[in-house]
């Protein structure tokens, strides 16, 4: 691990404000870096000074009394254990009844020296046990400290996990939102591709050799609407380009008609864009040049009329006089 990076973490580590993962990085690096340890000691001293930013307060006397009672009780208990362990050979004597025969007493007295030696051995054993006990107490205290540290690290990790889960949920929402935007973009691309394809089809038709044009003019005279029809004699297909069409009220639609004598045929509906422009590719029932007139009318949408019934917007003649 880069020592310089670890050095940047030391202030927050000394303050106890690092997240658990970063704290582990610091703790792994410290044993191998005396310089970092020295720097950490200095920063810890600074953090320790922050305690003096709190106004001092006189604790009640009962706190001191309770503490010292607790400590004295602890000391007394340890001393009692030590004393009991040191007098195991004396107590049995007090329990011997006085009626024991003098001879037996005399025999037992012969063992005094041996018992004295045994007592000394037991005292040494007790001393050793107390030393071991002290070591165990130290280890217990260290383990308690480690447990405290671990508990704090666990709480920090749990907080991090909760934060990560919230972030994950947010990411999933963003992914779903992005997928929706992507689908919408794809739909618009498809729509544009269709329009480009239609325009290329129109262009190839309009620019083909032998194509004749016929203009459509406003039927009422005052409109800005205009149209031009591209047709090829002998063929049933034709393209009509419109401009200046006004936006119709809801329920109305532009309908394009071919007229042959008194017979009129609807060959398609026209939908203008926001600028009033529109195009229509028609497929006539017979060669387009067999019809004499064309017109664009306003009809009720969905009515499928057999003949024009609404206002005529544009009209034009196909036959040349």
């Amino acid at each position: 691990m880069d020592e310089e990076y670890i050095r940047t973490l030391l202030p927050a580590y000394a303050l106890g404000a690092l997240e658990a993962g970063e704290a582990v990085l610091v703790e792994r690096t410290l044993p191998s870096s005396p310089a970092l340890r020295q720097e950490l000691d200095a920063l810890r001293a600074v953090v320790g000074e922050l305690a003096y930013a709190a106004p001092p307060a006189e604790p009640p006397e009962r706190v001191r009394a309770a503490l010292l009672t607790r400590v004295e009780s602890n000391v007394a208990r340890a001393a009692s254990l030590s004393a009991e362990a040191a007098e195991p050979a004396a107590s049995p004597w007090r329990r011997w009844p006085g009626r024991l025969a003098t001879g037996l007493m005399a025999a037992l007295l012969l063992c005094v020296l041996g018992l004295g030696g045994l007592t000394l051995m037991m005292q040494r054993s007790v001393s050793e046990a107390l030393a071991v006990n002290a070591q165990l107490a130290d280890k217990l205290a260290a383990a308690q400290q480690l447990l405290d540290t671990t508990r704090t690290a666990q709480q920090q990790l749990e907080a991090q996990i909760a934060a990560s889960r919230a972030q994950l949920a947010q990411n999933e929402r963003q992914i779903a939102q992005t997928a929706g935007q992507l689908a919408e973009s794809q739909r618009q691309i498809d729509l544009l591709a269709d329009q480009i394809s239609a325009q290329e089809q129109d262009f190839s038709f309009i620019s083909a050799p032998g194509v004749a044009t016929r203009d459509l003019n406003p039927a009422g005279g005052a409109s800005n609407a205009a149209g031009r029809m591209y047709m090829r004699p002998g063929e049933q297909q034709a393209v009509v380009i419109f401009r200046g069409l006004r936006t119709l009220e809801p329920g109305k639609v532009y309908e394009f008609w071919l007229a042959q004598g008194k017979a009129q045929v609807a060959v398609g509906s026209v939908v203008a864009d926001a600028d009033g422009n529109a195009r229509l590719m028609i497929e006539a029932p017979e060669a387009v040049n067999n019809f004499q007139e064309v017109m664009l009318t306003v009809e009720a949408s969905g009515s499928q009329p057999s003949q024009p019934s609404g206002d005529t917007v544009l009209a034009g003649r196909l036959a040349t006089d």
């Binding site: 920063l43 709190a54 307060a57």
Partner: protein
């Protein structure tokens, strides 16, 4: 050991390390002397963090009990008893705050609380004078920090919050909070070191 512990001031000839050496041998009077010397600062810290006299008393007693129990793990010769004690006190306070499962939405008294709080002199005039000087020096150093840096270390030290928790509480980017804390501690180190408040002399 049945001797009664009298309330005595810390012997002026014994520094903290010397008293801790005695505590490690089971000398409860040495612990009492350390209590006399540091209990007011430690109790002030617990009151500041917990805002509850009852909880603060429990924490103070438990902290000095741990000093007694863990005296063997104390590193002698480095003059760092006070930071060690305050570390124990602070960890106990943080445990208590987490038990409450409610953090202060803002440190009591706000950022300015770091700058105020005048001590009243107690019976140990020498020790109190020394602590008063420490407080004045610390207050001068803190006053030189930008307010946002003071606020960050306030929340970390007295609120027991991690950098991420501070960022969430202040609604600030985590990187900004990290920078504030790093710069604040480094600047405090630079300001306090020349005055003798470092690991070598404390």
């Amino acid at each position: 050991v049945t001797k009664t512990l009298e309330r005595t001031a810390a012997p002026p000839t014994l520094d903290d390390d010397a008293l801790m050496a005695r505590v490690a041998t089971g000398d409860s009077q040495a612990l009492a002397a350390l209590y006399e010397r540091h209990s007011r600062a430690a109790f002030g810290l617990t009151m500041r963090m917990l805002s509850s006299a009852e909880d603060a008393e429990d924490v103070l007693q438990e902290a000095f009990w741990r000093v007694w129990q863990r005296s063997a793990t104390y590193q002698q010769g480095r003059g760092n008893f006070a930071p060690w004690l305050f570390g124990i006190v602070r960890n106990l306070c943080i445990d208590e705050l987490r038990r409450r499962q409610s953090r202060p939405s803002k440190a009591d008294g706000g950022d300015e609380a770091l700058l105020h709080g005048l001590p009243d002199l107690g019976s140990d005039v020498h020790e109190e004078a020394w602590q008063l000087e420490r407080r004045r020096t610390l207050r001068t150093a803190l006053a030189q920090l930008p307010a946002d840096q003071r606020q960050a270390i306030e929340l970390a030290y007295f609120g027991g919050l991690s950098q991420r928790e501070i960022a969430e509480q202040l609604d600030s980017p985590l990187g900004t909070v990290k920078t504030r804390i790093r710069m604040a501690i480094q600047k405090l180190h630079g300001l306090l070191h020349p005055r003798g408040f470092d690991s070598e002399t404390l």
